[in-house]
Amino acid sequence: MRWGLPLALLVVLFPLFDMIYWIAVRALPTFTWATLTTDQVGLGGGLYAMIVGSFTLLGLATGFAAAVGIAAGMYTAEYAPPSIARWARVAGNLLAGIPAIVLGYFGYYALVLYTHWGYTTLAGGLTLGVFMVPFVYRTADLAFANVPSEQREAALAMGARPGQYLVRVALPIALPAILSGVFLAMAIGLGETAPLIYTAGWSSTPVAGLFQPTSFLTGAIWNFYDYPSTEGSFQALAFQAAFLLLILVIGLNVVVQVVAERYRRRTRGMMA
């Protein structure tokens, strides 16, 4: 026992540090400013188109997931009859557990083939958004449900209609928790590959429109990693994309922590 527990912790943490090291030594030697600012050219070049593509897809997906997830969470916590709310929470958890590749295939079928759009940025963004929705939905539902019921009673006793209570009292209280859910969903979505490979297509130049295909950072790893290293710098590009993704995801997780801490501080006086 004495050594077993710390050893288990070491086994948990070792892959994280090993992976960071492993990626950094392969990415950093060739990582320059130009890596971030030039397009993919032939078998080499930079990540510019993929960075723009990733953020465009993430922006579309976040917009979709936040709008739908927050509204659905608000409905579940405040309006839905208890039986529907219980069922919706189970369904939300199920959706969060669906393998991303299955969702990717669903996106391919529904948004690429059925719509006759072909591979498009919009199809990729929406599929990624569907993947992210349950994370926003669950935190939004929880955040609204956690608003102390006295706040609701006090607002209604002041002559507020339920909608006015939601917008003026519940939303400001719940917002930091909801935001941390949105950032968490962004961190997860940014690192996803499967919802995009069948939907967003690929393009070596920056995204030209919603109905044009686009490249994305995780796609660089998916597409370039197994190229023989003798051909151009494709493999280096894959590691550079991986390194950049690590930095961005860690950054987003720090934001989640900061926002969550702010939430705790803000509601402290309320639960007294």
Partner: protein, 261 residues
């Protein structure tokens, strides 16, 4: 002190008139055929042991009982002759005229100023009027001077007693005629409690105040009339002095002399 004139034909018109009010939860009856009148510019106290229905009674006076699911209400509550349970009556308007302050202070997570302005903003009152009313309400609640006019900080930064007076100021801002107070001092220390009691004493110059309390001394100190509830039924309602000194009912006497509680 005026003599008790509960429902007497020669007394002044009651501001709130409760008749045969019964409230049912899914598997028990909380209030059983309660009838009593409340008058303007008076303090009425409702006392009784825990679970006797005191809170349900006051919550039924501004239609807050129905906020909880599964509650069934029978009987009549008239505000200045108008039935508040008439299906055509908007509960929102009832709650604006009959304000309520809860057992635990519940400031909204807004500034002190915006807390008091809350009800006015819901009604779309003009900015200048909001400004005047917020200040006057905070003065009435004895907070304006105490805070030195610093009303931009969060209402959550105030002490418990100040928070409760903030909630009273917030309720006063929408100019109600009746103020319902549900054990407003239950979570406060003696000093803060005394301030609240002084405030209630002042408020009765302008409002009908109905206060639920488990503290009989408090009822004796501030109320003109006192109602004693037991197991959902109104046992006795009379002039406070009479109820405490010379109760008509045996049950009341046992309760006020502390033989059960």
């Amino acid at each position: 002190m005026t003599p008790a004139h509960v429902g007497s034909p020669d007394g002044p018109e009651p501001i709130l008139s409760v008749r045969h009010l019964s409230v049912h939860a899914p598997n028990r009856r909380i209030l059983d055929d309660v009838s009593l009148d409340f008058y303007d510019r008076e303090v009425a106290a409702i006392i009784g042991p825990s679970g006797c229905g005191k809170t349900t009674l006051v919550r039924s006076l501004n239609r807050m009982t129905e906020v909880a699911p599964g509650i069934r209400i029978e009987g009549s509550v008239r505000y200045r002759g108008e039935e508040i349970y008439d299906p055509r009556v908007n509960p929102v308007l009832v709650r604006q005229r009959i304000g309520m302050v809860f057992q635990r202070p519940v400031p909204f997570p807004l500034s002190i100023y915006e807390n008091v302005a809350f009800g006015l903003r819901l009604q779309g009152v003009e900015e200048e009027e909001v400004d005047r009313t917020v200040r006057r309400s905070l003065e009435q609640a004895g907070l304006w001077k105490e805070l030195d006019g610093d009303v931009e900080r969060s209402g959550l930064t105030l002490s418990g007693g100040q928070q409760q007076r903030l909630c009273i100021a917030r309720a006063l801002a929408v100019k109600p005629r009746v103020l319902l107070l549900d054990e407003p001092a239950a979570s406060l220390d003696p000093t803060a409690t005394q301030r609240i009691e002084e405030l209630i004493f002042d408020l009765r110059k302008e409002y009908a105040v109905i206060i639920v309390t488990h503290n009989m001394q408090q009822a004796a100190r501030i109320a003109n009339r006192t109602a004693f509830l037991y197991q959902g039924r109104l046992i006795e309602y009379s002039d406070t002095h009479q109820l405490f000194e010379n109760p008509r009912e045996k049950l009341t006497e046992s309760y006020v002399t502390g033989r059960f509680g």
